[in-house]
Symmetry: C2
Subunit: 348 residues, 2 copies
Amino acid sequence: MSSQHVTNMRAEIAEQPAALRATISALLPRAPEAGELASGTRHVLLIARGTSDNAAVYGSYLIQVHAGRLATLASPSVATAYRSRVDLSGVLAVALSQSGQTEEIVETLAWARDCGAATLAITNGAASPLAEAAEVAFVTQAGTERAVPATKTFTTQLAALAVLAIGLGAALDPGELRGVPDEVEGMLAVPQQDLDPIVTELAGDRGVVVSGRGLVYAAALELALKLKEACYLHAMGLSYADLLHGPIAVVDARTPAILLAADSGPALDGTVELAQRVAGAGARAYGIGGGDRLAAACTRALPGPRLPEWLAPMGLIVPGQLLTEELSRRLGLDPDHPRGLSKITQTA
Amino acid sequence: MSSQHVTNMRAEIAEQPAALRATISALLPRAPEAGELASGTRHVLLIARGTSDNAAVYGSYLIQVHAGRLATLASPSVATAYRSRVDLSGVLAVALSQSGQTEEIVETLAWARDCGAATLAITNGAASPLAEAAEVAFVTQAGTERAVPATKTFTTQLAALAVLAIGLGAALDPGELRGVPDEVEGMLAVPQQDLDPIVTELAGDRGVVVSGRGLVYAAALELALKLKEACYLHAMGLSYADLLHGPIAVVDARTPAILLAADSGPALDGTVELAQRVAGAGARAYGIGGGDRLAAACTRALPGPRLPEWLAPMGLIVPGQLLTEELSRRLGLDPDHPRGLSKITQTA
C-alpha cells in the first residue's frame, strides 16, 4: 500500500482472525440453545438482505447438507409489503443483520413469530432491536465495523451459522471450527503473488462473473456484492448451474470469471471443468482456492484456506476482500465509502 | 423489422396469447388435483433452474401472499452434488422444467419424493422424464419452442403456477386468469413507441440493472436473464431491497435501470421512488408498467398490462421480450442462437 493510509476496510479484513476467535468462543458453548429452540421444528427459514443474505445462503447449504433439515431463504416483502399471514408452525426462523437495526428484518422476524415460528437472531448488535425480538440471540463479536462494505461481520456471521448447524445436530467437528481463525491469520500473513496482476487486469474490465457451487456459492455471491459495492463493477454472482443456464454467454475476452472452490468436496470437479470451459472460450479465469487442480485450470489463481469444505467459505472470501479493497483504490475510489450507500440500509 | 426475416424468438413472443389460452383451458379444471395432492402439507418447495427458476420466484410470492403457505426455492445441488438426506415430510415439491428433460431437476424431484415430499411437475414436455417422475403433472401447452431464449414456455409456466395457487386455496378469481391471453394479445397489437429509442440507447451500454418488487420481481429476474442470454449485457436482476443494499452504487450515466411494476399493489410506491432516485443520480430509468405514475418518474417507459398485480408478471415480461429480441438484432447478434447455450441445459 506504500504511502497510502490504511483504509478501514483493509484494517477490518485484518481484524477477522480476532473477530472469529471471539465469536467462536462466545457462541460454541451456546450451540445446545439452538438445538432446544429448534426441537419440534423441521424447517429453517433464513431472513436477511445484502451481505447477510449471502451468509444466509451458506447457512442454508450447511444445514441441509450436514444437519438433514430443509433450510431456505425467506422473501421479507411477503411480511413487510404484503403483510400476509403464512402458516409457520414447525419452522425455526433465523434472522441475520449485522447492525440488528434494519427495520425490514426486525419486522419480518416479528412476523415469523406471530405466524408460529421459533425465532433466533444472528447479529453484531448486542442490544439491537433484532436481538431483542428473538427468543435466542447469537451475538457475533466483530467489534465496530466502520467501512461500509462488510467484511468481519460477514465472516463472523458464517461462524455463527456453523455453530447453529452444530446445535441442530450436524455431525461436524467443533475443533475444526476452532481452527478457522488461525488459518485465516495464516492466509493474511502470506502475500498473494497473483493479487496485483489480477487487480491490474480487472481495472480495465467493466464486468465480471463470480461463481462457486454448493457451500462455496455463498462466498461467490459475497465477492460479487463487494465488487459491485466498492468497485462499481458489473459483478454477477452465480451458482455453477445458473451460470450454465444462460449467463455463460456473457463471459468473453472483456468479461472474466472468478471461480471459487474448496480444496475438496463434490463441487470441486465441476468448478475445475468450468474454469477449463471459460478459458477455452477465450476468457480469463481467475481461481480462488480449489487447490492445485483449480489453479492449473485458471489463468491466474489466489490460494485458498486449508480448511474442510464446510468451513472453506470463511477463508475463501478473504482473498476476495483483499482484491476488492485493492481494486477499489486502484480505480481511484474510496472503498470505505461507496457512493449511494450507508452502513445501515433501511428498505421498509 | 423491415426486410429482415422474423426470428423464432419474435414469432414465439407472438404465440403467447394462444399458448396461454390453451394452457389455462387445460389446467384450470385440474386445480383441485393440486389441492388434494397438497393436503397434509404446509410448505411448498420449488425446484428449478434458469428461466424456470424465475417462474418459481413468481410461484413463491403468489403462494405465500395469496395462499397463506410458506413457499421457497430449493437448492438442487443439495440433492445432486451432496446427495444429502433431508426431512421433507409436510412438503409439496414442485419442479419446473420447460423440456422436462433437465437431469438435475428430474433427479432433485425424485430425491424430494424419497425424502417424503408430495410431488408435482410443471413442464411443457408431456411425456418427459419430469412429468413421469411426479405424482401430478401440469403440462403447459406452449407447443414447440425453437429459440433458445424461452418466452412462451415462461409465461405458460406462470399460468400453471397461478392455477396451482388457486388449487392451494388462494382467494383469487379464475376469471381474471382467463382474461390474461386477451390482454397480452392487446399489448402485442399496439406498437410500443418508446421501444426503438430505448433499444438505441441500450445498444451503447454494457450493463443494466433490472428491478421489481414482490410478485413482479420474477419478471425483473427473467428480463435480466433474457438480456444476458441474447444481448450479452451485464444485466443484474435485483429485488428492490437488494438493489438498495449495495448494487445501487453501480447505477450511473452508463448503467441505466429498467424498473417493472404492476399498475396497483403495495410494490408500486417503492418502485416509483426508486425510479426517482435512479433519475436523481443522473442515470436513465426505463419503466415497464406501473401506470402513469411510474412512467412519469422514468426517462422513458413502455406500457404494461391492465391486469391485477397477481397476474401482471405474465404481461410485464412481454415488452421486455420484445426489447431483448430487437436489441439482440440491433447488436448484430442472433437472438435464436446465443453463443454457449443450447435448448436443454444439463448441469448434473
